[in-house]
């Protein structure tokens, strides 16, 4: 396994007294176990606020979490800090949702890419330029963009630059946090094609976080459904879309096809004890122990 998450928890305090324990918490990520094999792509779907972005940021340890372990390439990276963590981040990269804010507007493309070259200080400028040009070609941009500023590009081009930046360090795992959500449909499919090509070329592993089922279906081999911070169902893509077992998954698939007013939507409670049950064929569903 390339990546293993064990019992990850992240609670945000909602009300907090001075020095005391928070009286109310938001369970953004609640006891999540997940494994990702090398070369695979895992889709994570869920509605806004379900904790999927938080989970993505936790994997990179961009935000602290309350409990659980992250094992990357058989190495427990949970206690890693500072320099050690920076070494691991070479392997773990992220592409963000909004290409308008994920590229610092003050930096030229060359500087943006160069920033990722932290570990290759002795590389010469000319070599860097050749390397970057190749990388930009891989993401479908010409080399003459190196001298430009982000504000000169369209959304799709910016996202390509963001992908190129994430690839500079030659990572193994790429977390794509709503990476195509802010783009229009045509550009979306272009970027997805690009991602699929790149996956083959660099043997990348993707964790694809999105609320867009169509996109997730296209890119992932396995899909996990997140609801209220918990993974409620996890199965192979076809299996999940053809045979949804959890009430929330059904709800989500139905909502993707047809718009339903909120009043009809049932609230699915997630209180009490649960167990992750294998339904056969690697199809896991969260089931209440009460029943």
């Amino acid at each position: 396994m390339l990546l293993e998450l064990q019992g990850i928890k992240k609670y945000f305090p909602l009300k907090q007294r001075w020095g005391g324990k928070p009286s109310e918490v938001l369970k953004a990520v609640d006891n999540v176990d997940l494994t990702v094999a090398e070369g695979q792509s895992l889709g994570l779907v869920g509605e806004s606020g379900s904790g999927k972005t938080t989970l993505g940021r936790i994997i990179l340890k961009l935000i602290p979490f309350d409990a659980g372990r992250i094992v990357f390439e058989g190495q427990d990276i949970t206690p890693f800090k500072g320099k050690q963590m920076r070494q691991v981040r070479k392997q773990l990269q992220m592409v963000f949702q909004d290409p308008y804010s994920s590229l610092d507007p003050r930096f030229r493309v060359f500087q943006l890419l160069d920033e990722a070259m932290l570990f290759e200080k002795e590389m010469k400028l000319a070599d860097k330029e050749i390397f970057f040009s190749g990388l930009l070609k891989d993401v479908g941009l010409s080399a003459d963009v190196l001298n430009r500023f982000p504000h000169e590009f369209s959304g799709g081009e910016r996202q390509r630059i963001a992908i190129a930046r994430a690839l500079v360090v030659k990572p193994k795992l790429l977390i794509l946090d709503e990476a195509v959500s802010s783009l229009d449909v045509i550009i979306q499919s272009q970027i997805i094609d690009l991602l699929l090509t790149l996956q083959k070329k660099f043997n990348l592993t993707y964790i694809f976080i999105s609320h867009n089922l169509k996109v997730v279906k296209r890119i992932s081999r396995r899909v996990g459904v997140i609801y209220k911070g918990k993974i409620v169902e996890l199965a192979k893509t076809d299996e999940l879309f053809n045979n949804p077992l959890h009430a929330y998954t059904k709800e989500l698939l139905a909502a993707a096809i047809e718009y339903k007013p909120l009043s009809i939507r049932p609230t699915i409670a997630l209180d009490g004890e649960f167990n992750f049950v294998d339904q056969g064929q690697e199809h896991f569903v969260l089931k209440s122990l009460g029943h």
């Binding site: 940021r57 990179l60 961009l62 500072g82 963590m85 920076r86 070494q87 981040r89 070479k90 773990l92 990269q93 992220m94 963000f96 949702q97 909004d98 804010s101 994920s102 590229l103 610092d104 507007p105 003050r106 030229r108 920033e115 990722a116 932290l118 570990f119 941009l141 010409s142 003459d144 963009v145 001298n147 430009r148 500023f149 504000h151 000169e152 081009e157 963001a162 930046r165 360090v169």
Partner: protein, 364 residues
């Protein structure tokens, strides 16, 4: 995909729109001239700041003349003779029989240009026997014009150095507080509030009182700079902190983090540069505060001491209305302070508008 061949940053765009504002460019030129004057004060001034002649106390300006009875004879001045009237008050009379040519590049008082090259060369001067007072003399017969030039060295540099120190502190404190948040933020901000709580001028006086009064002029100069910076940093730190709180949530900060940049580098590269548009304007708008602060201290005799000149202590002569009536030219340092302060303010305002087009639109 190629649109235009020229790729300019947002800062360069701002600079272009700054150049379109004539008033601001004018002010920038005034300041440039002032600072150039300060740097080359030794060469530009006819006399040294301590070259005195008590026989010429409050001597009026000696106008430079070019024509004699309608004939061009080159620049010259007339000598002045000192007499006393019936109230034993000094009266200077122009002695048209003694004529002294004004020469360029003359040998005069010794100095070291830029503190390095020893020289005696002055831009203008007259020979012994008369004194060239372009705008008049002070109580000890020192040339006011020379003293204003020398005073500019102190008054103008205090603003720059003071701003440099207090902005470094303010940026780092505000950046750290805003980036980390939590208890670090709490401690640093309470500290800022403690400094801001005390009214500025009283804090200035209190801090000045805490400095030993047997300091020499260099020590006093640095004491004043430190005191002024100590008062100035808190306000900026608070504003920078607020901006950093919002900036740290930007995705490029997360992206930088995931690339493995250290916190310090992220603050330096991705957070503080985005406060520049505010900071540059704030720097320009706060320099006058330092110049005025130094002037205020020197005016009441707590700053730069005689014989050293600063615009503030030159103005302290004006504390008596009788002297202003008798020698109105001693008001000149005030004109220079006024021009400097208003220039910095106009440049600051314009820069703020240029660097932050959104804010400009909001205000309209």
């Amino acid at each position: 995909m190629t649109r235009n061949t020229e790729h300019v940053s947002e800062f360069q765009l701002a600079l272009r729109s700054f150049k379109k504002n004539r008033l601001a460019v004018c002010c920038a030129m005034i300041l440039f001239i002032f600072y150039a004057g300060a740097i080359f004060a030794d060469f530009l001034s006819p006399y040294s700041y301590r070259n005195e002649d008590r026989n010429y106390s409050y001597c009026p300006p000696t106008p430079v003349r070019f024509f004699d009875e309608g004939k061009w004879v080159g620049p010259y001045i007339y000598g002045q003779t000192l007499t006393f009237n019936e109230f034993y008050r000094r009266v200077y009379q122009t002695d048209t029989t003694r004529r002294f040519p004004v020469r360029l590049f003359v040998q005069g008082d010794e100095y070291k240009l830029l503190g390095l090259i020893p020289s005696r060369l002055h831009l203008v001067g007259v020979q012994e026997g008369a004194r060239l007072y372009l705008i008049g003399a002070d109580s000890r017969g020192r040339d006011l014009w020379s003293r204003i030039l020398y005073g500019a060295q102190i008054s103008l540099s205090i603003g720059l150095i003071g701003v440099l120190i207090s902005f470094s502190i303010g940026l780092i404190v505000g950046g750290v507080a805003g980036f980390y948040g939590g208890w670090i933020d709490n401690v640093l901000m309470r500290l800022c509030e403690m400094v801001m709580m005390v009214p500025g001028f009283y804090l200035l006086l209190a801090l000045r009182a805490a400095v030993p009064d047997d300091f020499n002029s260099v020590q006093i100069y640095f004491a004043i700079v430190v005191i002024l910076s100590f008062i100035g940093w808190a306000g900026l730190a608070r504003i920078i902190r607020g901006m950093c709180l919002s900036l740290r949530e930007r995705e490029y900060v997360l992206a930088a983090k995931s690339l493995g940049l250290s916190d310090f580098k992220i603050i330096l590269r991705h957070i503080l540069p985005h406060t520049v548009s505010y900071s540059i304007a704030a720097v320009m708008l706060s320099i006058p505060g330092y110049i005025l602060g130094e002037s205020a201290l020197s005016l009441i005799g707590l700053g730069i001491q005689d014989p050293y000149a600063s615009w503030g202590n030159l103005l302290s002569d004006n504390m008596s209305i009788v002297r202003i009536k008798f020698a109105p030219w001693i008001l000149w340092p005030g004109v220079f302070i006024f021009l400097t302060v208003i220039s910095f303010n106009i440049i600051g305002d314009t820069l703020r508008d240029c660097l932050d087009p959104m804010m400009k639109a909001e205000r309209k």
